[in-house]
């Protein structure tokens, strides 16, 4: 039964969920609880925290996320192709070349538009 494999995966998943729960529960029994006000302030190198913590961050992160999405999805197509490549033959290579070439142009575009260049933060 192939589904047994997923039973195993589920067991692993279950254990992975269980461990934190168990550990944190045990920790709660063991650890002290002595709250003071300063313990609950946000850490800012010892200064009084200024403003909110959720500051606006650089747009660059978003651009990287976009690039990631594009190339991650590319792999979705690369994998089945890779598995079947032996049976597909040379023409499949040509097709994949076209596919990858288009994506590489995207990469070049990003490169040229300085998306890949990290400026501070």
């Amino acid at each position: 039964m192939y589904s047994n494999n997923y039973v195993v995966v589920t067991i692993f998943l279950f254990l992975a969920v269980l461990l934190p729960i168990a550990a944190l529960t045990i920790g709660r029994w063991l650890r002290p609880y002595k709250p003071t006000e300063s313990k609950y302030t946000t850490y800012e190198s010892g200064n009084e925290p200024v403003g909110g913590g959720q500051v606006r961050f650089n747009i660059r992160y978003y651009l990287f996320a976009l690039m990631f999405v594009i190339f991650d999805v590319e792999t979705v197509f690369l994998y089945p192709w890779a598995v079947a490549y032996k049976q597909l033959g040379l023409f499949a290579l040509v097709e994949m070349c076209i596919f990858v070439a288009l994506l590489v142009i995207g990469l070049l575009y990003a490169w040229k538009k300085k998306v890949l260049q990290w400026t501070s933060i």
Binding site: V9, Y33, V100, V104
Partner: protein, 335 residues
């Protein structure tokens, strides 16, 4: 184990699977404990220091003590933090780290599961950890944590691409995504191991893997000198421990994966050494990779963030793509 997986699911089988899972969990925890110990020790030696030596003989219980300390430490959640997400983040980071281990075959017989999409399983699940890290940074409601989390996420996703694509070459050669099949394919001497024909892929994979692990020289998310401690500034006690745990479990997983994908898994380097059990070979290769990671940490300085991103996108990604086409052309000619 393979036979059990073939059978109809019964309660007995289920109990065996469960027991196996628990055993593996303990093994992993043990690994993490002593990997940390060895890391400190090895780096100590390399830097002409002694390393931990106080708790227990040779300091063997140092990590145990650390864990225990974390366990009984007071746990604070900043008032401004998003409480639910804050609690959830380390858990989310840890879960996939452990779950992916289900896909790794230790020997021919000693496997947890025989997924026919093992590679994909690993890749898909390991991506989830990023979410935990971003979440942790965001939920802390702390500027350092947020920036650390974002930076970490950026790094992880940037290196995930070359990591994933560098594996494609291996998959092509084998024609399967089943990790056991891939390992089996490399039987018969180290010249059949994938790291030779896939040398580009191997290099890209290792570099990307190191970065995925947020380890030196790519440990920017935790850059103390820049961002205090990255995404887990606000974490303390066992919540913090889970971030660390996840990191070292990933070390385990990556080492196992590298062994399977590129270093022939449980196969001996020379056919005449086949009499030695596969698990020994596996552990040997596994350990050397872990050692390699420690070694790197002791040796290399941290890269700058712009170098980091540049390397990922401008070098590794094109290289991994080149690897695919080199492999494809080679295979087309060989066919």
């Amino acid at each position: 184990m393979p036979e059990l997986l073939q059978q109809q699911l019964t309660w007995v089988n289920f109990a065996i699977f469960f027991a196996w899972g628990v055993v593996l969990l303990l093994v992993v925890l043990g690994f993490v404990t002593y990997a940390i110990y060895f890391e400190r020790k090895v780096i100590g030696w390399m830097q002409m220091r002694i390393g931990p030596n106080r708790v227990g003989p040779l300091g063997l219980l140092q990590s145990v003590a650390d864990v225990f300390k974390l366990l009984i430490k007071e746990d604070t959640i900043p008032r401004k933090a998003e409480r639910e997400l804050f609690i959830l983040a380390p858990v989310i980071t840890f879960i996939p780290a452990f779950t992916v281990i289900a896909a790794i075959p230790f020997t021919d017989r000693l496997i947890s599961s025989d997924l026919n999409i093992g590679v994909l399983f690993y890749v898909a699940l390991s991506g989830i950890s990023t979410i935990g890290i971003v979440l942790g940074g965001w939920a802390s409601n702390n500027k350092y944590a947020l920036l650390g989390g974002m930076r970490s996420a950026a790094q992880m996703i940037s290196y995930e691409i070359p990591l994933v694509i560098s594996v494609v070459g291996t998959v092509m050669m084998t024609g399967s995504m089943n990790l056991r099949t891939i390992a089996d394919f490399q039987a018969g001497g180290f010249w059949h191991w994938n790291f030779l024909p896939q040398i580009i892929g191997f290099c890209v994979f290792v570099i990307a893997a190191v970065s995925e692990l947020n380890r030196t020289p790519f440990d920017l998310p935790e850059a103390e000198s820049e961002l205090v401690a990255g995404y887990h500034v606000e974490y303390s006690g066992f919540r913090f421990a889970f971030f660390m745990l996840a990191e070292y479990v990933y070390v385990f997983a990556i080492a196992g994966l590298t062994t399977t994908l590129f270093l022939g898994g449980w196969h001996a380097p020379f056919p005449f050494l086949d009499f030695i059990p596969g698990i020994i070979w596996f552990l040997l290769k596994f350990s050397s990779i872990v050692f390699f990671l420690f070694w790197l940490r002791a040796t290399l300085p941290r890269v700058r963030v712009d170098q980091l991103m540049g390397l990922g996108w401008k070098v590794l990604l094109p290289l991994s793509l080149v690897n695919i086409f080199v492999t494809a052309i080679y295979m087309a000619i060989a066919m």
